[in-house]
């Protein structure tokens, strides 16, 4: 089999499976007369999605903006702390507990408290929740990358009598980049999920999570699912964008 046919199959096979699953879903809903509050048919969801593309896009834009702010802030703070922890042992020891704590707290559960702290009419709480969720994988991955310096490179830097900062800039930071981008890729999905779930707990109107809850409460199940579809698309945009970043960073990041 030639490679092009292989590629084609790699694309077509999952696509065919998806189409088949949707067809079965549609068939089952019609055949068994499943009620919309249990699950609407894909056709109904598609119609709802096609009927209000502008509102769904507007909601996705609000949630997406919160996720993006959270992603940027979380990445900057995560990288900063990882560099500090890699350079200064004490900071590493002090932050280890905090990071472990952050990793086990269900961060979105803090949403109600944050809405009170920053005001329920502000997006700040949602952005902060996304930022905290992003911080952890970015910090952990970047720190791991910073610790991956190969002995031969360490010897080389010593042989060159390079200062700690020179060695960090020449070897440690570029070597950690692929790890950082892997962290960002993992964090990007978390940013969208956290920003969206935070909307369930209050805060200003607008945002795709808010739209899902209000559509459900007004018994418009097909519309609720249409918003879910919008949320999936939003998550995909974040994931694909950060995946592309990761791939480009890894181009010459291999071992040599």
């Amino acid at each position: 089999m030639n490679p092009r046919a292989g590629n084609l199959r790699a694309v077509l096979a999952p696509l065919a499976l998806g189409v088949l699953a949707i067809a079965l879903w549609q068939l089952a809903v019609v055949a068994f007369d499943v009620k919309p509050f249990v699950i609407p048919s894909p056709l109904a969801i598609g119609t709802a999605f096609g009927g209000t593309p502008a509102t769904i896009a507007a909601g996705a834009l609000v949630t997406g903006a919160n996720a993006l702010v959270g992603l940027v802030v979380g990445v900057v703070v995560g990288v900063l702390f990882a560099v500090l922890a890699a350079l200064v042992r004490v900071i590493d020891e002090v932050t280890a507990g905090i990071v472990a704590g952050l990793a086990v707290i269900p961060i979105v559960a803090l949403a109600p408290a944050f809405y009170t702290m920053f005001g329920a009419d502000q997006q700040t709480a949602r952005q902060l929740i996304a930022a905290i969720a992003v911080f952890i994988p970015v910090f952990v991955n970047t720190l791991r990358g910073l610790r991956q310096v190969r002995p031969v490179h360490r010897d080389l830097m010593r042989a060159y009598a390079a200062s700690a900062w020179q060695a960090t800039r020449a070897v440690t930071l570029p070597g950690a980049l692929p790890y950082l981008f892997t962290g960002i890729r993992i964090a990007s999905s978390l940013a969208v999920i956290s920003a969206l779930i935070a909307e369930y707990f209050g805060g200003p109107i607008g945002g795709i999570g808010r739209s899902i809850t209000s559509a459900v409460s007004s018994s418009n199940y097909a519309l609720a699912w249409a918003y879910v579809l919008g949320a999936i698309l939003l998550g995909l945009v974040f994931y694909v964008a950060t995946l592309a970043l990761e791939k480009s960073a890894a181009r010459h990041g291999g071992r040599a």
């Binding site: 190969r150 490179h153 042989a159 060159y160 390079a162 020449a170 070897v171 070597g175 291999g254 040599a256």
Partner: protein
């Protein structure tokens, strides 16, 4: 101001490397391990000295002591009359390891320029120096390639060019051809002989290949393991113009046999007078 240290005149009588009464003991979980015991070695400026011996004989450790990557437990190591530490700070040597150790995100040119960049050499000067070196190691067509696009032999040539970047008067090489296939290896050896002839640098070369040591060296230092000691030093002067035809030469074969006998000889380490040249 020239940022590149030049191969300046060496004061007469000052050896490139002087190792005196060096012991090196590593403290491991299993207890103290003596890697080197009462090692004495002098390398003259411009001289090519190979360290050969079985695994665990401390030859790499000895090289690391000269490079000031490790410190001796007792004894002294001096490089061009300075302490090894001062020589490292002054960048008196270039070094190449068994792994090329190139930075994968830097092109061939940028890898070679790395030491110059770290030591504040200007951009224009870096560029002309790296072009010279790329030509010297025959990688003109690959200046802008990345390490993952090169074969192992080519990567090692980049590493050697990088070691030569600051025109050091001393080259320290730790099995630089160890991971290469035999044919590439012989070609690299021939190139190294040519490069050393052109630069006039002294070389301390760690290897476990007998023909390699004999082909390259003015003197071969034979070491024995546990604890690492210098068993013998063999002078092999095959002349300045060493080409591939030398590999068929009877003097070469004689040198190979002599080193092999020393390596496998049952004389207990220290039983012979150390440092005596077996002329």
């Amino acid at each position: 101001m020239s940022g590149i240290p030049t191969t300046g005149p060496v004061p007469i009588g000052v050896p490139a490397v002087a190792v005196a009464a060096v012991d090196k003991v590593f403290d491991t979980k299993a207890g103290a391990v003596t890697a080197l015991q009462s090692v004495d070695l002098t390398v003259a400026p411009g001289e090519f000295v190979s360290l050969i011996g079985p695994s665990g004989c401390g030859k790499s450790t000895l090289l690391r002591l000269i490079a000031d990557l490790d410190q001796p437990t007792t004894g002294t190591v001096s490089v061009f009359g300075k302490t090894a530490h001062q020589a490292r700070i002054d960048q008196d040597y270039g070094i190449a390891f068994q792994q090329a150790g190139l930075l994968p995100w830097r092109s061939v040119r940028a890898n070679i320029e790395l030491p110059l960049e770290l030591h504040g050499v200007g951009k224009a000067e870096r560029g002309s120096r790296s072009s010279e070196l790329i030509e010297l190691v025959g990688l003109t067509d690959f200046a802008d390639s990345y390490p993952d696009q090169l074969s192992g032999g080519m990567q090692q040539r980049v590493a050697i060019a990088r070691a030569l970047a600051e025109s050091p008067r001393l080259l320290l090489m730790d099995e630089p051809f160890g991971a290469l296939d035999e044919m590439t290896r012989e070609r690299m050896q021939t190139e190294l002989v040519r490069i050393c002839g052109e630069t006039g640098a002294a070389v301390v070369f760690v290897t476990h290949s007998i023909p390699e040591a004999v082909f390259l060296s003015n003197r071969v230092v034979v070491m024995s393991p546990r604890p690492g000691r210098i068993r013998d030093v063999l002078a092999v002067d095959l002349g300045g113009a060493r080409g591939d035809e030398l590999r068929e030469d009877e003097h070469f074969f004689a040198g190979v046999s002599a080193v092999r006998e020393l390596l496998h000889g049952d004389a207990a380490p220290g039983a012979r007078a150390r440092g005596v040249e077996n002329r």
